[in-house]
Symmetry: C2
Subunit: 269 residues, 2 copies
Amino acid sequence: MTFADKLDRAWSVSGGMLCVGLDPVLERMPEACARDPRPVLAFNRMVIDAVGDLVCAFKPQFAHHAALGAERDLAETIAYAHAKAPHAVVILDAKRGDIGTTADMYAREAFERYEADAVTVNPFMGDDTVNPFLAWSDRGVLVLCRTSNPDARRIQGIEVEGEPLFVALARRAETVWNAAGNCMLVVGATDLDDLARVRAAAPSLSLLNPGVGAQGGSASDVVRYGARADGRGLVVSASRSVIEAGGPDAVRAAAERLHAELRLPEPVA
Amino acid sequence: MTFADKLDRAWSVSGGMLCVGLDPVLERMPEACARDPRPVLAFNRMVIDAVGDLVCAFKPQFAHHAALGAERDLAETIAYAHAKAPHAVVILDAKRGDIGTTADMYAREAFERYEADAVTVNPFMGDDTVNPFLAWSDRGVLVLCRTSNPDARRIQGIEVEGEPLFVALARRAETVWNAAGNCMLVVGATDLDDLARVRAAAPSLSLLNPGVGAQGGSASDVVRYGARADGRGLVVSASRSVIEAGGPDAVRAAAERLHAELRLPEPVA
């Protein structure tokens, strides 16, 4: 199964384009999880159980585990997501960016050690940093393009031959990096005009859109500005607004509201 | 002690500007290390014992540990370096790049969990990604500027108002990011003209220069093109050409040759 097939199945089975980020913070999790001998794993499992059928993807965030020395929890979280929501794509959000054998090591870490379906990658070092990940042709490589933070445009918005760098990156992804169908772009949900420019430059690519919820982006707007012509092509990610909503019922309710905004168009009979 | 003071002491005590990278590869280490129950730690300790007095810095590479699940070895390697070569600065080469609380988590990982003196950071997401690290004012933040790989200039070399991006980044580091004296730049040893341009734009900053040895850069040329006016200001890093030279004697001999090229100028009496 190619990465594109897996993503397509994830949209179909979940009926929408919602991704939930797994960014555990000890100080902000429910008592029942925080008291568990393995709080990070308990919290992630609670979220996966609550929303597994509603999401096309889970996005565990590397630093939130690494800062706590919770590598084993991260590995078991990903295995749990594969078992409980086998349709869902697991994206390790680690924003790796290195070259040569070091990039190979990062790919082995993400795809073999953690068994993630996909990983986020930072293109600042050029094609040398993207290619070693793309060589894993059945895994997704999500290249940072136009991120959701306030100062994103300082570098990503530099004009290159009359267009911003992030548009040039989108075109390169569409025409070069996606040769094996396993390249996506990370485009924040916080600037809809820039999202539309990426979509125009990369009509066939799938996009990961962080920034919905706590960062202020609207899920239905992301669909309006960012969906592919066939109504698919997005993985819209919310973290704090869902996972910190409270206990399992509150988490599910928050995810259901977003799922409704991100529902796939009805298939034409 | 500020980071700048620590670095200055490291140059003085070691008498030079040599940094040795710790990039353990199981298939390429001496038998005696590979047979150890903890081969990664055994290898790193062998290198630290062999060259500790010759280096101003050690640069453990994150992926080479993470791909093997060797986080404990990484932590114990850094503790061993602090104990055996207390003058040497330990730079965690992890090329982190994220924002907000996630960047805070990466800083906690590098500076608290691993007790590194410094970490490499990728500026693609803008100041939002650099500032959370710079806030740790006694730790070094090494921002990627002009890396040593063949395709580095694809993004880093884009012209911004008549000069390449990496020159603009160097000026920003000199004038903004280094307010607390804890910012350095990563500038490859493989392009001497670009190194000289960074030095001109950032006359006071210290630079980490990877790419000596296996990647083809010459240590003495790096000093000629990159040193500050006072003859200091560089941390010139070699990995494979030193650590894969053979057993402890061969490793030391390789480091001694580089140390001779990177010796500090004699103080004027």
